[in-house]
């Protein structure tokens, strides 16, 4: 077939540039400038897909992004994309598209049996049928999803790259039709920063391909070129405004390489996601024609009238040689005349009894037969319209009677009026008002949201004539620039003929020979979700009268097209049933996105290694060289363990754990949070923040501290050192660093602003190597000028000096219970310090160890990890740590909560050790201690395991747990029931498994 419906001339396509493409495997040719839809139509293809629920044959309805039917699967493999609207896909050479929602083929679809069974598939069918029993839903769902699927997601990683960016402007104009262009052109005559976005590849909006007047053409070309050449203007074609959020924050997707075809964008991003902050927004989004709701109005070939115009004007395609135009308003007469002028045999069917004589006589002059006061009562041709039957309407237009006529046609161009595209105004929080003159909702500026300054201009404001669009747009552009403090000098607007035809007479549901819902004919209003007028009647009968109920019960307007063509018809039909006015039924709120968008675009460049930052310490390279396996701790990559050849994790951790207690181990502790605290009230401040005493801490001495929140629950812990009377160095957990700094600042700034205390994060200022083990002293002493003897450098103190020639602060503190030093040097020397210690350590059997060994070793000593052994619901008393809670301080954060009834009650979870009866059994962390073992949950839980390891130093498994009333249960045997059903007995013990007297740390 060689583009049988292509006109010889006209349109914005390039007939010298043929493009090949396939649809359902069949090859076709189109031209540069086509969309997939226009190219298919040029080739006479009317059947494009099967509908969602009834699997009815469907074709194109529209020519723009409102298209509900023509959803196709674009491309294959990694590039495949489901549910693309054929009307929005620009044709490129080699394009591959397939139809959706059909099996085994589009022509013969098994699911079409649903259509025959449709009387058993009414609205709410799924809700009613698959409700009971609830346990079966999982089974039903699989089949329902299989039957209902629209397209297939790719299974490979996305080969494209995407870019997202922020943008700021004074005036953002949405839509580059006459109103938007006039607005942008006017605003751009000032110094305002202007952005103009339009979803089409070329500006012009509804006028694209039309010739209005020479003056208009000249103005248009000049405006477009001036906007392109103005440095203050960002003009983005192929860019869809997807969302309008508060404080004039709007998002848009720019399609950069989609129109070139997959893989042809070189290294350019496929799409760009714009996050725009605009001082003023001008919405010039145009309007959407709505279909008439008549019997079997979903047959392929039934289209919107303006779509027929667009295919003729913009793409040089005459959708059919015989066209019936069906309308309730004047605008479709332009379509009839246009189609006729381009060679179609046209019949006009108008539901109105009297029509502007100018229009009817123009039709007669063109040889178009006009039937006024008539309606289409049926459409013949399952896979493509072959004819329609029309009948006269009764006096009240509620029924049909009299002579029926059969009209042969391939296309039914229909118009039920125009709906202003108020999506963006609605998304901005504005409310709509019903305009009886146009039978549509328009923005109610008295109900706009003040934090989102915007104005609607042109057709989206209910002003349909080009002249009015230009005028409103230009005024809006001047006003918006002025609101930003800029003076515009807009040029004169071109004269254009009056083209905003109206004369609409409401006809929400076209009668046929049977009452709606009876007979086999279906009156569709929502094509994408297959919802009919009969479904609305059913909803009304069952009491779903409000728009929100109607929508959810029938699913009208809930498909990916968000009911762009269907919402108003649904409301009006419901209003008619209820005998109410349309505004009483209400209007749905439009929500983002305006059209579907890719996740790739939203993510932009923040994918892969930019998805979440990987934070590295200065020694990271050394760990990589040493073959470390890394663990994510917060955003940090920390060495987890350092396997030697042939070792698995268990073997490596056992080896490292033994080495720390037998010789010396080295851990990269740089990630611990560090906060520099200065000011004369610093000690007093710490007294409030920590549970223990700080005023009496000597300079150069360190102390462990526990922080609580006001609930009395443990929140963070760490060692803080007094560097000078009014100067402290605090450490926090790795994950808690930012939270603790925020916490300190919050108290200082909001509660105690009179305190002279200043906190500064210095986490990355210092690289930290921790030496732990009986040989730590000899190793350190071999590389430092600090006297490391026990007398000169006691436990819990800090010394400054040089380590390996590097200026260092050395803290003698321990998280292992071993003799230990944490060596802090400026980050710039971190790697050198590490390497120097590694080198010197050879003589002292130094072993590198990671976070897993750190966990094992500290558990052997019963040292808690905040967030693992605690969970935000335990107090220091629950953790058997009342030794760290001052009894003498009058107040500290959380203190008062200790005497709350709940923190005081018997039976609270308390921190204990667990030793399994079988020393080889390592309990899973999270396992529950149960009161009584049963065959299956639920079982009464007495607590749970928080930490559990195989300890090489204890030569058996060890575990820590929170157990109700645990401190009173030491020596008891408890039962742990595992997920796999196994039951383990364990003895409740003290949580310290090694060196209970704490001799080693003080060695």
């Amino acid at each position: 077939m060689t583009q049988a419906q292509r006109l010889d001339s006209g349109g914005l396509i390039d007939r010298s540039k043929p493009l090949r493409f396939t649809f359902d495997g069949k090859p076709y040719t189109g031209y540069a400038g086509d969309t997939l839809a226009s190219a298919l139509l040029a080739n006479g293809v009317r059947l494009l897909g099967r509908s969602f629920k009834y699997h009815r044959p469907r074709g194109l309805i529209a020519a723009g992004s409102e298209e509900p039917n023509a959803l196709v699967q674009l491309e294959e493999g990694a590039y495949t994309e489901p549910n693309t609207r054929a009307t929005s896909v620009e044709l490129y050479d080699g394009l591959v598209a397939t139809s959706q929602n059909r099996w085994p083929s589009l022509e013969f679809d098994v699911g079409a049996v649903n259509s025959a069974l449709s009387r058993f598939l009414p609205a709410g069918f799924y809700y009613k049928t698959f409700m009971w029993p609830a346990s079966m839903w999982m089974t039903y769902e699989k089949f329902i999803r299989k039957a209902a699927g629209l397209g297939v997601s790719p299974t490979e990683p996305d080969p494209d790259v995407y870019h997202s960016t922020y943008a700021h402007c004074d005036v953002l104009v949405i839509g580059a039709g006459p109103a938007g262009l006039a607005a942008a052109a006017a605003a751009a005559t000032s110094d305002a920063r202007v952005m103009l976005v339009d979803e089409q590849s070329v500006p012009g909006g509804a006028t694209t391909g039309r010739t209005l007047s020479d003056a208009y053409t000249q103005w248009f070309e000049q405006s477009v070129s001036q906007l392109h050449n103005n440095d203050n203007v960002t003009f983005l074609p192929r860019t869809t405004l997807t969302g309008y959020f508060d404080y004039n924050y709007l998002t848009a997707v720019e399609k950069i390489t989609d129109h070139l075809g997959p893989g042809r964008g070189a290294d350019k991003p496929r799409q760009r996601f714009w996050k725009i902050r605009a001082k003023q927004v001008i919405i010039a989004a145009g309007s959407i024609e709505r279909p008439l709701v008549f019997a079997d109005n979903d047959r392929p070939g039934v289209m919107l009238a303006n779509a027929v115009d667009t295919y003729i004007n913009r793409y040089g395609v005459l959708p059919g040689n015989d066209i019936a135009v069906f309308t309730n308003n004047d605008s479709a007469y332009l379509t009839a005349l246009n189609a006729s002028a381009n060679g179609a045999k046209v019949t006009m069917v108008d539901t109105r009894k009297s029509v502007n004589a100018g229009l009817t006589s123009a039709c007669e002059d063109a040889g178009i037969k006009v039937f006024t006061g008539h309606a289409i009562t049926s459409v013949q041709g399952a896979k493509g319209v072959s004819s329609v039957r029309i009948m006269p309407l009764s006096d009240d237009s509620k029924s049909v009677a009299g002579q029926a006529w059969e009209i042969k046609c391939q296309i039914v161009a229909n118009s039920g009026g125009w709906t202003p595209s108020a999506h963006m105004f609605s998304q901005s929080g504005g409310k709509l008002r019903y305009d009886n003159a146009i039978h549509g909702f328009v923005p109610d500026m008295s109900k706009a949201k003040s934090i989102n300054p915007n104005v609607s201009a042109g057709a989206c404001n209910g002003s349909f004539s080009t002249a009015k669009c230009l005028q409103e747009g230009s005024q809006a552009g001047v006003a918006a620039a002025a609101a930003c403090g800029y003076q515009s000098t807009p040029g004169a607007l071109p004269a254009v003929e009056e083209d905003g035809l109206g004369g609409i007479e409401a006809m929400w549901l076209v009668p046929t020979v049977h009452p709606v819902g009876e007979g086999s004919a279906k009156h569709f209003h929502d094509f994408q979700n297959d919802v009919t007028a009969a479904d609305i009647h059913l909803a009304a009968r069952e009491g779903f009268l409000s728009v929100e109920h109607l929508k959810r019960y029938t699913t009208t307007g809930m498909a990916t097209d968000q009911g762009k063509t269907s919402n108003l018809n649904a409301l009006a039909i419901m209003a008619d049933i209820r005998g109410a006015q349309i505004p009483e039924v209400g209007t749905t709120t439009f929500r983002p996105p305006f059209t579907p968008l890719t996740f790739g675009a939203i993510g932009g460049q923040e994918s892969g290694e930019l998805f979440i930052q990987e934070r590295h310490t200065p020694m990271h390279g050394c760990h990589v060289q040493s073959g470390a396996v890394f663990e994510d701790v917060g955003d940090w990559k920390r060495p987890w363990y350092y396997p030697k050849a042939g070792e698995d994790m268990h073997a490596a951790v056992q080896r490292e754990s033994l080495a720390v207690r037998q010789s010396v181990g080295m851990l990269d502790a740089s990630t611990l949070g560090k906060i520099d605290i200065q000011g004369r009230d610093a000690a007093a401040f710490l007294e409030m923040i920590y549970t223990n005493n700080w005023k009496n801490l000597g300079v150069g001495r360190c102390r462990y501290g526990l922080m609580l929140n006001e609930h009395g629950m443990i929140f963070d812990d760490g060692v803080t050192t007094r560097l000078a009377d009014d100067h402290f160095h605090m450490t926090t957990t790795t994950g808690g660093a930012a939270r603790v700094l925020g916490w300190l600042e919050e108290w200082l700034q909001t509660e105690w602003p009179e305190m002279q205390v200043y906190c500064t994060s210095v986490t990355e200022q210092w690289a930290v190597a921790a030496l732990n083990g009986p040989r730590a002293r000899e190793l350190l002493q071999s590389v430092t000028d600090i006297d490391c003897s026990a007398e000169a450098f006691p436990f819990m103190s800090m010394r400054e000096g040089k380590v390996a020639g590097i200026p260092a602060r050395v803290f003698r503190i321990s998280f292992t219970g071993e003799l230990a030093y944490e060596i802090n040097v400026p980050a710039r020397y971190g790697r050198q310090l590490w390497q120097a210690l590694q080198q010197a350590g050879k003589a002292h059997s130094l072993c590198l160890y990671g976070t897993e060994t750190m966990h094992v070793i500290r558990a052997e000593k019963g040292f808690i990890i905040v967030g693992q052994d605690t969970d935000g619901t335990v107090t220091p008393l629950d953790m058997d740590m009342d030794w760290i809670v001052s009894k003498t301080k009058p107040d500290f954060i959380g203190k008062r909560s200790f005497v709350r009834s709940d923190t005081n009650r018997q039976g609270r979870p308390q921190f204990v050790g667990l030793l399994t009866k079988d020393p080889q059994v390592v309990l899973p962390e999270g396992a529950h201690i149960v009161a009584e073992v049963k065959d299956a949950p639920p079982m009464k839980t007495l607590g749970h395991v928080t930490s559990s390891y195989m300890s090489p130093n204890a030569e058996r498994s060890i575990a820590l747990a929170l157990l109700n009333n645990g401190l009173q249960r030491k020596g008891d045997t408890v039962t742990i029931r595992l997920m796999n059903g196994d039951v383990v007995d364990a003895i409740v013990t003290d949580p310290v498994f090694i060196d209970k007297e704490g001799v080693r740390v003080r060695g």
Binding site: I451, E710, R900
Partner: protein
């Protein structure tokens, strides 16, 4: 997505800030002599206002200063931002 007028840095994107709930809840000074009910009121209870709400914000990615905002929780309109210690705008008429 709000624009928030930091009293120190000026108007900035909401993603630079964090919100920390209701403002002007002073920590009781004499904590040890409070009844459980009084202490619970301070620790657990907030007004959960529909309408004008005074709330605390911190300019996390900016100057790291805490400040207060007067926001309508229905429309998200922020009528004013003010420094800690300053009297909230319109406090005289709207103080409960």
């Amino acid at each position: 997505m709000f624009i928030i007028d930091c009293p120190y840095c000026g108007k900035r994107d909401q993603t630079e800030f964090s919100c920390h709930g209701e403002a002007h809840i002073a920590r009781p000074t004499d904590t040890q002599n409070l009844t459980d009910e009084q202490w619970g009121e301070y620790v657990f209870f907030r007004s959960n206002t529909k309408g004008l709400h005074r709330e605390r914000w911190v300019h996390t990615h900016g100057c790291r200063r805490w400040f207060n905002a007067l926001r309508n929780t229905v429309t998200d309109e922020i009528f004013a931002t003010y420094r800690v210690g300053e009297v909230p705008p319109g406090a005289a008429e709207s103080q409960p």
